[in-house]
């Protein structure tokens, strides 16, 4: 088992009388992506704020890199990177100067900036003022700033929200590379496709409570109660068949006659699981 970077144990947060997080448990290891998946107001951002020392929990414990979230001080920020919707850039400064400022603060050699800009795909915009960047480019600059000091843990709060599909795909590619390099990534999203594609484990969060936790495959299979197959034959006809000895016979005979164009199992998606468990839409 690889090193544990984040452990969350019975974590709760209450504002006035209302719980926004209730008895949350999760673990994130080195080289993994953990997704907190839920609609707006589910408690995803609150979790990130607690884990990064910006909010205190009401009860329970959480440790980031072995440090209790109640005892976090600014030194932790030399080992973690944070990208949230409240991350800002200095608009009057160029892309390079934005990173240079944080490189000086985080004691990162300035020679590391250009390779990072190339990796993030912003090198050609390095002399552009941040105010002239598109939303996707600004998000990449924020990501670059969070990666500048090669953090062990990266917190991402809805990193692709509102971005065009190609920029989102580019960010997914970068996140996979970072994971493969050994970085632990805590990702919140309401995009189930993104979660299923990127995350080793996901927690489905609804009104502050984790309603399901596991790998995306485990969760989907758990709710795959009515097992179905979707078959398209070479003559163009489509069939949806329930699993049964009869269906097995039909599929077997189509196979023998080389009539099958495509054959799919029909497990539920994370979105349909979420809908089934909570009765709420994700988006």
């Amino acid at each position: 088992m690889s090193e544990t970077y984040i452990s969350i144990d019975h974590l709760s947060k209450k504002y006035d009388k209302d719980f926004v997080l209730k008895d949350v448990n999760a673990v994130l290891h080195k080289g993994e992506i953990l997704g907190f998946l839920g609609p707006s107001g589910a408690g995803k951002t609150t979790t990130i704020k607690i884990l990064t020392g910006q909010l205190l929990p009401t009860s329970g414990t959480a440790e980031v890199l072995g440090i209790d979230c109640r005892k976090i001080d600014e030194r932790i920020y030399e080992q973690i990177g944070i990208v949230t919707d409240s991350s800002g850039v200095y608009e009057r400064m160029t892309v390079f100067d934005n990173l240079k400022y944080f490189a000086r603060i985080l004691n990162v050699p300035l020679k590391n900036i250009d390779p990072l800009l190339k990796r993030i795909g912003l090198y050609e915009h390095r002399k552009k003022p941040a105010s002239k960047l598109s939303k996707g480019q600004t998000q990449r600059l924020i990501l670059a700033r969070a990666l500048l000091h090669k953090p062990k843990v990266l917190f991402l709060d809805e990193p692709t929200s509102g971005l065009d599909p190609s920029t989102a795909l580019e960010i997914h590619r970068i996140l996979k590379e970072l994971r493969d390099d050994g970085m632990a990534i805590f990702l919140t999203t309401h995009n189930m496709e993104e979660a299923a594609k990127l995350c080793g484990h996901v927690a489905l969060l609804n009104e502050g409570v984790i309603v399901e936790y596991g790998t995306p495959e485990e969760i989907c299979l758990k709710y795959n109660r009515i097992k179905k197959y979707r078959v398209q034959l070479t003559d163009g006809t489509k069939h949806v068949l329930l699993q049964s000895p009869e269906t097995a016979g039909r599929i077997s005979s189509w196979m023998n006659e080389d009539q099958i164009e495509t054959l799919h199992t029909c497990e539920p998606t994370l979105e349909t699981v979420f809908l089934e468990v909570t009765g709420r839409e994700l988006q």
Binding site: T52, Q54, D73, E74, R75, Y77, E78, I82, S86, S87, G88, V89, Y90, E91, R92, M93, Y101, F102, R104, I105, L106, N107, R145
Partner: protein, 245 residues
């Protein structure tokens, strides 16, 4: 109270960026306006008095008041408010910068620029001072700049954006600037002014030009008390709210 260490590397980076921001169009108007105001006062009083040295000192005192108020109160509050508005403050605070580093990094460039303008004002009004008078002038105006900046930081804590900063700062600027400016018209204002750090600094310039000690013991006590009070209030509010409510 747990005092956080100040890393010179981080402090230098913040001072550099904050210092450059003071030359942006949002802020540079303040020192330029103060210099222009001093120049205007110099012309008006020179014409009115026929070139009396005391009037030069009066013009300098007016310019210094304008400068300390606009730079100290307004620029500090607006600078903090801008960081909040653009979400860069939170980014800084989650990039290993502590509150003390941000506080000092924000204050130092403003105090330096305020002092640079205060020095230029002396040349604008053609006032000649001995090295001792210069030392007294710099000491008193620096104290006033620091106090104004700490109060500006206090106002910044309550401002979520630059518009709010402007709204909150205006009455404070008016009170601290206008009361000493109009002491000549009202004895009551003169009495009140003696309890304002801006009033002490205003009188100090007249004393310096007359060859008297810049500030008496009471004046030093007022400066010290207002510095300590504003700092304690700032620390209290900072501990409750941080830089953001």
């Amino acid at each position: 109270m747990n005092i956080k260490p100040v890393h010179l590397r981080k402090l230098a980076a913040i001072i550099d960026v904050k210092g450059r921001a003071l030359f942006s169009k949002n802020f540079i108007i303040m020192p330029v306006f103060s210099l222009g105001f001093t120049f205007l006062m110099q012309i008006i009083y020179e014409k009115a008095s026929g070139g009396m040295a005391a009037m030069n000192a009066y013009a300098l005192a007016m310019g210094m008041l304008m400068n300390v108020s606009m730079m100290g109160f307004y620029c500090t509050a607006a600078s903090l408010a801008e960081e909040k508005e653009k979400n860069t403050l939170r980014t800084l605070m989650t990039s290993s910068v502590n509150g003390l580093e941000f506080f000092l990094g924000s204050l130092i460039p403003i105090v330096l620029m305020t002092e640079a303008v205060n020095v230029l004002c002396v040349f604008i009004v053609h006032m000649t001072m001995s090295p001792m008078q210069w030392a007294a002038y710099l000491a008193v105006t620096t104290a006033a700049s620091v106090i104004a900046s700490v109060i500006g930081m206090l106002l910044g804590i309550f401002s979520k954006n630059q518009v709010t900063a402007s709204t909150l700062t205006t009455p404070v600027v008016l009170v601290f600037m206008m009361v000493p400016m109009f002491t000549g018209f009202s004895e009551t204002l003169q009495k009140i002014s003696m309890f304002f750090f801006t009033g002490i600094a205003f009188d100090a310039i007249a004393n310096i030009s007359n060859g008297l000690p810049a500030v008496d013991v009471k004046g030093i006590a007022v400066l010290a008390a207002e510095f300590i009070f504003s700092l304690i209030l700032f620390l209290f509010l900072y501990r409750r709210n941080g830089f953001e409510r």
